[in-house]
C-alpha cells in the first residue's frame, strides 16, 4: 500500500512536470518562449511536439494564419464633399512574432493599433479623392443599351485599386515596425451616409428615368406618326395611280371607239348625211316622252297627207 502510494505520487509529479514541459505546436500556430518575461530563443513556427523547461519558461501562442481586421463603418467626406459611409477591412498576419510580442504583447492590442493606423490612413485617402475615384476601378466603357443615358462615365485617374494601394502602402510601413504584415485592404462597403445626399441622388435617378421614359413615349408617337404618314402617302399613291391607269384605259378605249365610228361614218358625203339622219331619229326616240307638247304644222312631212286628205 505505501509502495503503491509512493509510485502513485511520483507518477503524478512526473506527469505534471511533463505536461508543463511538453507542448504541441499546431499547424496554424507559432510560439514564443519567455523565461521570467524575457524571450528565449527564436519563435517556434514549425508544428510538432516540443519541449521547454517546466515552470520557469512560459509559452506565448500566436496565430500563424491570416487574421481579420474590421474597420468601423465611418462617415467620411470625399474631396468633392460627398458624405459617405466607408467600411474597410484588412487581412494581416503576425510576421515577426518576437517583435509582435515585444511591441504589442497580444492580439487585442494589435487590433486597437491597427484601428489607429488603418482608420487614419483611410480617412486621409478618402479625403484626397473624389467619390467616383473610390467607387470606380477602371475606365472601362460601359455597355450601353438603348435606355442608357449616353454621358454616364466620367474618366477617373486611378480608381479604387490605387486608393487601396495607397492605404496599404502607408499602413504597411507603420505596421512592419510592430511585427505585423498587412496583406490587403479592401473597401467592403461604400454608401451615401447623408439622407439629404441620398435623397438628391434618388431625385436625380428619378428624373433620369423620366427622361428615358419620355423619350420612349415620344419615340413611339413619332414612329406611329411616321407610319400613319406613310399610310396616307401610300393611299394617295395607290388611289391616284389607279385613277391614272383607269383613265388611260378609258381614253384609249374612247379613242379606239371614235376611230371606229369615224372610219364608217366618215366614208363619204352620203354616209355623213345618213349618219346625221339616223342620229336625229335616234334622238327623237330618246328625247320625246309623255311630258312633251308637240306642235306640228300640216306643212311638215308627216301631216302633209292629213291636210291633203282633209280638203
Amino acid at each position: 500500500m505505501s509502495r503503491l502510494g509512493v509510485v502513485l505520487i511520483a507518477g503524478l509529479v512526473a506527469g505534471i512536470v511533463l505536461a508543463d514541459a511538453l507542448f504541441i505546436v499546431r499547424e496554424d500556430k507559432q510560439v514564443i518562449i519567455t523565461q521570467f518575461g524575457e524571450p528565449i530563443g527564436g519563435p517556434i513556427t514549425e508544428p510538432g511536439l516540443k519541449i521547454k523547461l517546466p515552470f520557469f519558461q512560459k509559452l506565448h501562442v500566436f496565430e500563424k494564419r491570416f487574421l481579420e481586421w474590421q474597420g468601423d463603418a465611418e462617415e467620411l467626406t470625399t474631396r468633392d464633399k460627398k458624405y459617405i459611409y466607408v467600411d474597410v477591412y484588412a487581412r494581416w498576419r503576425i510576421a515577426e512574432p518576437l517583435l509582435f510580442f515585444q511591441r504589442l504583447t497580444n492580439e487585442t492590442n494589435a487590433q486597437s493599433r491597427l484601428d489607429d493606423i488603418l482608420d487614419g490612413e483611410t480617412r486621409n485617402a478618402i479625403a484626397r479623392h473624389d467619390l467616383l475615384e473610390v467607387v470606380r476601378s477602371t475606365n472601362r466603357e460601359p455597355v450601353l443599351d438603348e435606355n442608357a443615358p449616353t454621358d454616364v462615365f466620367k474618366p477617373i485617374e486611378g480608381g479604387r485599386d490605387r486608393i487601396r494601394q495607397q492605404i496599404l502602402e502607408a499602413a504597411k510601413t507603420t505596421a512592419a515596425g510592430l511585427g505585423i504584415e498587412i496583406l490587403d485592404v479592401q473597401f467592403r462597403r461604400i454608401n451615401y451616409s447623408d439622407p439629404e445626399t441620398q435623397n438628391a441622388v434618388f431625385q436625380r435617378m428619378i428624373s433620369e428615368r423620366k427622361r428615358i421614359a419620355d423619350r420612349f413615349r415620344s419615340e413611339g408617337q413619332g414612329e406611329a406618326a411616321r407610319i400613319l404618314g406613310e399610310m396616307d402617302r401610300e393611299l394617295k399613291r395607290i388611289q391616284s395611280e389607279a385613277y391614272r391607269q383607269a383613265e388611260e384605259i378609258r381614253g384609249r378605249a374612247d379613242a379606239e371607239a371614235t376611230q371606229i365610228y369615224a372610219s364608217v361614218y366618215d366614208r363619204s358625203a352620203d354616209s355623213r348625211v345618213f349618219y346625221e339622219f339616223l342620229q336625229t331619229m335616234a334622238t327623237f326616240e330618246s328625247t320625246i316622252d309623255d311630258g312633251t307638247t308637240l306642235v306640228l304644222s300640216t306643212d311638215g312631212e308627216f301631216y302633209r297627207f292629213l291636210e291633203g286628205s282633209g280638203r
Binding site: G48, R91, V201, E223, L228, L278
Partner: protein, 366 residues
C-alpha cells in the same frame, strides 16, 4: 458551412487542456498493471484499478474510431503537424491514435453556398450588418444606388489551406465577396446592373473573387456567382417601372399605327385594282359597242345607198310612229293659222321648248 467555422476556433483553445487531461491520467493507467504485477495490495483497490483501466481503454478506443461521410474528408494532425494529403481520410470508418492524432472534418465534396443581401434561411450565418438590405445597397459607377442580391456557390478544394491559412474563413469569405461585388458594380452603370450586364457582372465577380481567394490562400474554389434580383432602391422603383411601361407604350403606339396601316393600305390596293378592272371593262364595252354600231351602220348604209329616198322616208315615218304615241300633248296646226305660238304658256314645262324647236328640221330637211 457552419461546420468548418465551428471547428476552427474551438481546437486551439481546447487542445492544451485536452492533452493535459490525458497526460494526467496516463500514469494512472501505467500504474494499474504495475501494481498488479507486484502482487499484494487489497482486493477492492485492485478491482477499482482494473475497472478504471478498462474504462479508460474503452473510452480511448471509442475516441479513436471515427467515420467520414461520403462528401467529407478527414484531416489528421499528428502532434499538431499536418502530414500531407496522402494521410487524409476518405469516406468510411477510420482509426486514429488516441491523444496524439487530432481530427478535423471538412465537406470537400459538398457544394457550399452563401447568400448576400437576403436570407433564405437564418441558420448559422453571422452578418456584421444589422439590416440585410444594408448589405445589398451599393453605388454604381454613375453614382446611382442599386440593391444587389447574390449567391456565391463554392467548394473547398484545398482542405489544408482552408483550415490553416486563414482564421474565421467564413467571415473572410463573406468580406471578400462583398468587396468584390461592390468593386464590380462600382464599375458599371445602373442600367448594366439592373438589366443588360447581369451575366457580365456574374462572370467578373467570380473571377475577381477567385483571384482574391487565391491571394488569401483560402483553398476555396468559387464555382458560381449568381445574381438574384438587382433592383433600384424603393423610392426610385416606380420611375424604373415607368420606363418599362414607356417602352411598352412605345411598342403599343407603333403596333397600333402599323395595324392601322395594315388595315387600310391592302384594302386600298384592292380597291385600286377594282377601279382599274372597271376601266378595263369600260374599255371593252366601249370598243365592242363601237364595233357593233359600226357594223350595223355599215350594213344599213349599204342598203340605203341602193334606195336612199325611200329608206329615209321609211325610217322617218317609223320613228314618228314610235315617238308620237308617247307625246303627252299633240297640237296639229294648219298652215293658214298664224300667230299661234305666242298663245302657249311655255314657262311651266321645260321639255316642251326642246320639243318645239326640233319640230321642223326632220321634216324640212329632205
Amino acid at each position: 458551412m457552419s461546420e468548418p467555422s465551428g471547428g476552427g476556433p474551438r481546437s486551439p483553445l481546447d487542445f492544451p487542456d485536452f492533452s493535459k487531461l490525458r497526460n494526467f491520467r496516463f500514469p494512472g493507467r501505467k500504474d494499474g498493471p504495475g501494481g498488479k504485477g507486484g502482487g499484494g495490495g487489497d482486493v477492492s483497490a485492485r478491482k477499482i484499478g482494473i475497472a478504471l483501466l478498462v474504462l479508460v481503454v474503452v473510452g480511448l478506443l471509442f475516441g479513436s474510431i471515427y467515420q467520414i461521410e461520403a462528401d467529407e474528408v478527414g484531416i489528421i494532425l499528428r502532434l499538431g503537424r499536418y502530414r500531407g494529403p496522402a494521410h487524409d481520410a476518405g469516406p468510411g470508418l477510420h482509426f486514429k491514435l488516441p491523444i496524439i492524432d487530432q481530427l478535423e472534418k471538412l465537406p470537400v465534396e459538398r457544394q457550399l453556398k452563401q447568400e448576400f443581401g437576403f436570407r433564405s434561411e437564418t441558420v448559422g450565418i453571422r452578418s456584421s450588418f444589422a439590416d440585410v438590405s444594408e448589405e445589398a445597397t451599393m453605388l454604381t459607377g454613375d453614382e446611382n444606388v442599386v440593391i444587389v442580391e447574390w449567391v456565391v456557390q463554392y467548394r473547398i478544394v484545398d482542405a489544408y489551406r482552408y483550415l490553416f491559412k486563414v482564421r474565421n474563413i467564413d467571415e473572410t469569405f463573406r468580406d471578400l465577396s462583398h468587396a468584390v461585388m461592390r468593386q464590380v458594380v462600382g464599375d458599371r452603370t445602373v442600367d448594366e446592373v439592373v438589366t443588360v450586364g447581369r451575366v457580365d457582372i456574374e462572370n467578373a465577380a467570380q473571377q475577381e473573387l477567385q483571384a482574391l481567394c487565391d491571394q488569401y490562400e483560402t483553398g476555396i474554389r468559387v464555382e458560381k456567382v449568381l445574381l438574384q434580383s438587382n433592383n433600384p432602391p424603393d423610392p426610385v422603383k416606380p420611375s424604373f417601372n415607368d420606363v418599362n411601361q414607356a417602352e411598352q407604350d412605345r411598342s403599343k403606339l407603333i403596333n397600333e399605327a402599323q395595324a392601322n396601316y395594315n388595315r387600310v393600305v391592302p384594302r386600298a390596293e384592292g380597291e385600286a385594282l377594282q377601279t382599274i378592272q372597271q376601266a378595263e371593262g369600260y374599255a371593252l364595252d366601249r370598243v365592242n359597242r363601237s364595233r357593233g354600231d359600226a357594223a350595223r351602220f355599215d350594213a344599213l348604209f349599204a342598203e340605203y345607198r341602193k334606195a336612199p329616198e325611200v329608206t329615209r322616208k321609211r325610217i322617218y315615218l317609223e320613228t314618228m310612229g314610235k315617238v308620237l304615241p308617247q307625246v303627252g300633248r299633240k297640237v296639229v296646226v294648219d298652215r293658214s293659222v298664224e300667230g299661234l305660238v305666242p298663245m302657249f304658256d311655255f314657262s311651266g314645262r321645260a321639255a316642251t321648248g326642246g320639243a318645239a324647236s326640233t319640230q321642223t328640221p326632220p321634216g324640212g330637211a329632205p
